[in-house]
Every structure is written in C-alpha cells, then in structure tokens.
Symmetry: C2
Subunit: 279 residues, 2 copies
C-alpha cells in the first residue's frame, strides 16, 4: 500500500525503506498550516472522519438522518453547539485541522477554503462520521490491493439512485465509494470491512454499477476515476459524502463539510471500532 505524499511529491510506498508516515497530530498540524489533499493512506491505523456541521436548529434532523441511514452516516461524535473540539482528537480544532472544507448556503456550494474560521458560527453542531479510509488499512493488511492509493488518486465516489430514509427536513440519495477488488480478494474485503461497522461496514453492492444507478464508473461525482485491472470487481461501500448530497437536495440555510476525500484525522485507533471477540 502506498502513501500519498501530500507535499506534492510522488506517492511514497509505505513499504519502502525510509517511507514516512505521519501521526494524526502531525497531519492535522500540516493541514492547519495550509496543506491540502486526499487523506487516504495517511496516519496508518487511525480513524478518519467525515465532517458535516449544521446550525443547531437543524441538528436533530441531521442526527436522525444519520441514525436512519447508519451505513452511509455512522456517527462517531457530535459536538455541543459552537464547540470546535471533539473527544476523538483532544487539542484539535475542527475549523482549521482538515485539509479542505466545503461551505454550503441554501444547498449551494459557495466556497472551498482550507481554513473554515471565517465561516464558523456559534450555533454550529458538528457531526463526525466514520470514513472508509479507516478500513483500507484492514483490507491492505489482509492483502487486498487498494487501487486508488496505488495510483496516487482520490477514491472515486458516486451519487446513487438509492434514496436515503428521510428525517425531518433532510432527504437525499446515498453516495458510495468504489474500490476495484480482484475476485480472489473479495471475501477478505467483505469480511474486513464488515468487522468495522462504525466506518460503513461491509459493501452495499458488488458488481454491476447499473444496479446502483451509476452510469459510468469513469466519471465519478467526487474524487478521481481509478483504473481497474481486467478481472477486478467494482465494490461499493456507503460513503460519508452522503450528507453533502442531502445538503444539496434539502437546502438547509448553512452547512460546513469536509471536501470529499480530505478527511479529519482523529486520534482514535481503528481497532477501537472493530467488532470485538471475532477472530
């Protein structure tokens, strides 16, 4: 498995002598200082998180939306209104420590800053949701190739034709991430991700993209297209960009999210979320 070098150099293979990985704290400091880019492969073994922050009067709808759609929206933490801190990473600042943000007004994307302090509001409640980058370490550990990391690209993400269960004023389609998996690794990919239900769990679909209403794998809605080996099977996992699709569909007056693929790095360890007692 390779590590994308977010300083702009070529990806660095983790297995190479001298390959560098960052602690979550060091990565957050670099992002705070202005570095941006996808976070797949960064901070080995540490849980990454999607961000969706909404005004307090939308917080119940958002929390209920997450509860009703746990595959795309597994909640790892919810902040108190106005607090930019989380129990998942003491000392971190949710306004500055992500690589890149998206700012939404009435469902429209209005800015993509690397620092969200100018947009922060005291009535914001932030939701941190599990991210599939977390289980990539488990997949890699089981020998499953992670094509988008090998190719130094962001994971491809697609808006599906499957509607989430609505909650209050929130509705919208499920978004999925896709990883090409060689058939001989399919079982391990399903098992290893399945053991991490807090970070989307097992796939929602394997095979024909049309079953999810996806017309063309080469044209993802977010992230980058990824090259598939001839026998690879496209495997789809529910994705934490789903709340952004709900923002687009439901038009809350304001929302602040991460940019797809550019996640919040928590101090939590992946194994904290692994189903216990299963060997």
């Amino acid at each position: 498995m390779t590590l994308p070098d977010l300083t702009g150099d070529r990806p660095v293979a983790l297995a190479e002598p001298g390959a560098r990985d960052w602690s979550p704290r060091a990565a957050r400091a670099r992002f705070r200082a202005g570095l941006a880019g996808p976070t797949a492969g960064v901070a080995a073994g540490h849980t990454q998180a999607n961000l969706i922050a909404v005004p307090a009067d939308w917080a119940y709808d958002m929390l209920l939306f997450c509860q009703r759609n746990p595959r795309p929206c597994p909640v790892l933490d919810v902040t108190d209104a106005g607090a930019a801190t989380t129990v998942l990473a003491p000392g971190a600042d949710l306004r500055t420590d992500l690589p890149r943000y998206r700012v939404w007004e009435d469902g429209e994307l209005v800015a993509e800053p690397a620092d969200a302090r100018a947009y922060w509001r005291d009535d914001l409640v932030a939701f941190l949701l599990g991210c599939s980058f977390t289980f990539e370490w488990a997949l890699a550990g089981a020998g499953v190739p992670i094509r988008h990391v090998e190719q130094g690209r962001n994971v491809p993400m697609y808006v599906t034709g499957r509607q989430c269960r609505p909650a209050g004023r929130l509705r919208g389609p499920m978004v999925v991430s896709m990883r090409p998996v060689p058939p001989e690794h399919l079982r391990a990919a399903i098992r290893e991700s399945g053991l991490l239900p807090a970070v989307h769990g097992g796939p929602v679909h394997c095979g024909d993209p049309a079953a999810l209403g996806i017309a063309d794998l080469a044209r993802p809605d977010f992230g980058d297209p990824v090259e598939m080996a001839p026998d690879d099977i496209p495997v789809f996992w529910a994705c934490g960009v789903t709340p952004q699709a709900a923002v687009t569909a439901s038009r809350p007056p304001f929302a602040l999210t991460h940019a797809p693929g550019q996640m919040f790095l928590t101090d939590a360890r992946d194994e904290q979320y692994r189903v216990v007692g299963v060997d």
Copy 2:
C-alpha cells in the same frame, strides 16, 4: 433453550415436540389483549427492542445520549413526534403492544400499566433500542446455556458505577444485564454477541461484579436473581434499561418506557443486525 410460557404454565422447551413459539405479530396481539411478562425466549430469531419515549423537546438530548452511549443505547428506530408506529413492525401500536410499560413524571415512576394509551401524548418521540434478548438466540445456537431462560426467570439487571457520557440535560449510570456463562462457552458468548453490535454487541465486562460497582449479584436492581452453576462466570452486557436510569437521574418532565425485561417484539430478523461477511 426453553421458552417461557407467558400464559402462566411451566416454561416449554423449544426443542420439545409440540413446543409452541409465537410470531412477533401473535405475541404483540397477546400483549395488546393484556398478557404481561418477560419476553426472553419469545419469537425466536426476531429482534426485541427497549422503548423510551420522551417529549419532542427532549428528543435531541435523548438521541444524542444514545449516540454517545451506543453500547447501552443502540438505536434501532426513532419515531416522528406523536406517531405510535415504527418501521420495525408495520401495523404494531407502540401504545398497546408491549407487555407492560413504565410511566415516569419528573424522574419518578408513577405507573406500570399494561396499556399506555391513557398516558400517550402527541409530542412523544419514541426510541426503540436494541435488546440483548436478541443475541440470546445466537448464543443458544452456539451451545451457550441461557440460565435465566432455563430457570424461567427475567434476566437480572444491575445499575453500575460507570457513568454514561452526558448529552444535554441527560446523564446517568450504565445499566447491565448479567448472564452466567460456563468457562468453556465464554469465547462463543463473546463472539456471537460481538457480531450483533446493534443489540449491545459483546460484553462490557466478564468476572468480578465489583469492577462494575455491583455489590451483590443476588440482589439485581431490575429483573430476577439467577442461579449460577459452580464454575459459571458472570458476564455483563450493556442494557437498554440505561435510559430509565437516565430518567431517574435527569428528571425529564415525562417519559414512557417498557418495563424491564418486557420488550417490544419487532418483525425485524436478528440476522439483519449481524455483521456481514464474517463466518
């Protein structure tokens, strides 16, 4: 594994020829007609649920309390305000279809009716939480004896010294259920319950009750004491009675819950909640 016969006769062994089990729908109809009693062992393979309903202006605190304490409070469904129906059991009425209810005013238990219609309010939001009775079928299927069912008793439950993570106005200690497990079955008990995180998952503690602040296993706070075989290890799972302890500690103006051990029987199948792809 035996099935408690809620008509008042002796428990019926499921394995016996002619042993009778009920469908969830048939069980709910009997409870609606006035039957009351613990539901462990009823409606094999169907998911049971704890009930906590609070006024809408307490719903966000309750949902956040559940999110922050997912081991004792795994949310299976949340109703819209005033709705007494749930996607988990189409046609069921949450006001009548549980064996017995508890009615709380300002944190005090004021009634234990078998029918809650006289107490229902149009602003109530009902939370249905996973119940450990669900994984008892998986344990039994793996050969783990279920002592309280063998003995025809309600499962013993204890208020622990462990505080839940507070949420808004809600705080309180974690409640646990206890099952004595022979040492040779401990691994299976941990594994099988661990594969069902939506119904409390694996144990929170095995062994010395004092580690949880429990003084005397013979005096449970809810349910019945259960007899342990000489080598049995007490195994503790987080329990969906925890919100009732939060009601006692936090004193919301009103709450409606199930009576401990007398659960809502859903139409959902246990395997829907089982971690996928793990064999």
